[in-house]
Symmetry: C2
DNA sequence: CGCGAAATTGACTCTTCTCAAGAGGGGTGG
DNA sequence: CCACCCCTCTTGAGAAGAGTCAATTTCGCG
């Protein structure tokens, strides 16, 4: 199922001048790179690779080894785990600025696949360890990110364990608003929907049909102003 | 609700000789302390405190600040989060050797309360940072522990999102067996049950009654050989 | 414009929840 | 040491929410 794919058109791995790749990166300020000083940044750029990941392609697969840290520069990813009989649970959505693969492992705990054509920076952990000796903040940042992931997971647990279908769907849209929502000026919030209804249902622990009915309810009460396959306008 | 309580009878914070506290610790090998060299260990012992936590008392509370790392030396803890209307979700159980408070925060994401009279070692993060400069493995260990927590949370998410009541209960007992189970020789596994039925139900996203019915089923099919309020024998 | 996948809606089923009553077990006081 | 009481757990019956199966509609894409 969806092997790791290298779509390298945008990679900067070829030799020569690479000054500026990070300088112009619009997530530089929010990710681990902010811990790099000028020297670390130069080091980073020399081993870091930018990689395009095509929609539906996995960058990590459950059970497969992974030794890289991925920083999502653009696009979005879906994290999932499968039960033996094929039931799929979506354990999270990853957006611009988020990290995947905080720790090298020889058995990844989940699959991460691109929901749209996306762009990531990859850092080998082996190398990151070296950088960390001169920029100790990097490890603190990894610890912090790990905790953020954990807290998100705990919120997800509360959602799945205690919330009704309508509440779950509402919570999902709140998360979406916070992660990728934009405010066009009026009270409304707009957000792109890079995931399918099935993806959302699998995230919320609901069936497709139940999600659909909940969407109808949220539309009726006005929480959702308009929704299409890949876009939503909310009144929060 | 359950403030942080200091039940200090067992604390070693008073001055004088403290040699040996860690040397004789039976979880030394499995926890972060294993990263300490002799010098770090001496440092650690001088600022670390052992603390007894009485049953039902919280060592961390949702929304409250926390700047210590806790290592569970003996006993067990329940992690929980509450919705505004009081619904409680148990997000995890913590046993001997586990960590709590991997990161300092001024708003703890969850509450941790002792399920039985327990014993923890507390390390202030401020101090831990100093130790980490000479023992860099400590931070790696914190990253690793953070990831372990996250992976457990993901398993919990799968459980809540995709499993039936019977499957959830079965999974809980498997977890219990792995965490605190002992094999008395025959194929069976025994484990103490420090949590109530209500705690288990809140962990599994089920009602008390549903859990009770599932237990009856598991007894009938023989997965559970015997179960009382605080002890279980399983056939795995 | 039309095809096909994705999403919605409908009717019915089933698992889990709810409310209620009863049984069991542990601890305290007589 | 026993009995009682209280709290926890179990069991029962009916209701409700979400699941299932199936038909239909919508939307995005060629």
């Amino acid at each position: 199922m969806a092997a790791i794919v290298e779509t390298d058109q945008l990679s900067s791995r070829t030799g020569g001048a690479r000054v500026g790749l990070c300088d112009i990166c619009d997530i530089r300020g929010v990710s681990i790179c902010q811990e790099f000083g000028p020297r670390e940044m130069a080091q980073a750029e020399s081993t870091m690779a930018r990689r395009a990941v095509a929609r539906k392609h996995a960058i990590m697969s459950e059970g497969e080894p992974n030794d890289s840290l991925f920083v999502v520069v653009d696009g979005s990813f879906l994290l999932s785990k499968y039960l033996e009989d094929g039931r799929r649970q979506v354990t999270g959505f990853i957006f611009k600025g988020d990290l995947m693969g905080v720790r090298p492992t020889d058995k990844s705990a989940y699959t991460a696949e691109a929901l749209e054509d996306s762009l990531v920076c990859t850092f080998s952990h082996h190398y990151l360890n070296e950088v960390a000796t001169s920029a100790p903040g990097v490890k603190d940042r990894l610890i912090a990110r790990g905790q953020t992931e954990y807290h998100r997971a705990q919120d997800h647990i509360v959602l799945l364990g205690k919330k009704t279908a309508d509440e779950r769907v509402r919570s999902f849209f709140m998360l979406l608003a916070k992660s990728v929502g934009t405010d066009p000026g009026d009270g409304r919030i707009e957000a792109p929907l890079s995931m399918s209804r099935q993806d959302i249902a699998d995230y919320l622990g609901l069936r497709l049909e139940t999600l659909s009915r909940a969407l109808a309810t949220l539309k009726k009460i006005g929480f959702i102003e308009a929704i299409s396959r890949n876009h939503v306008v909310m009144n929060i």
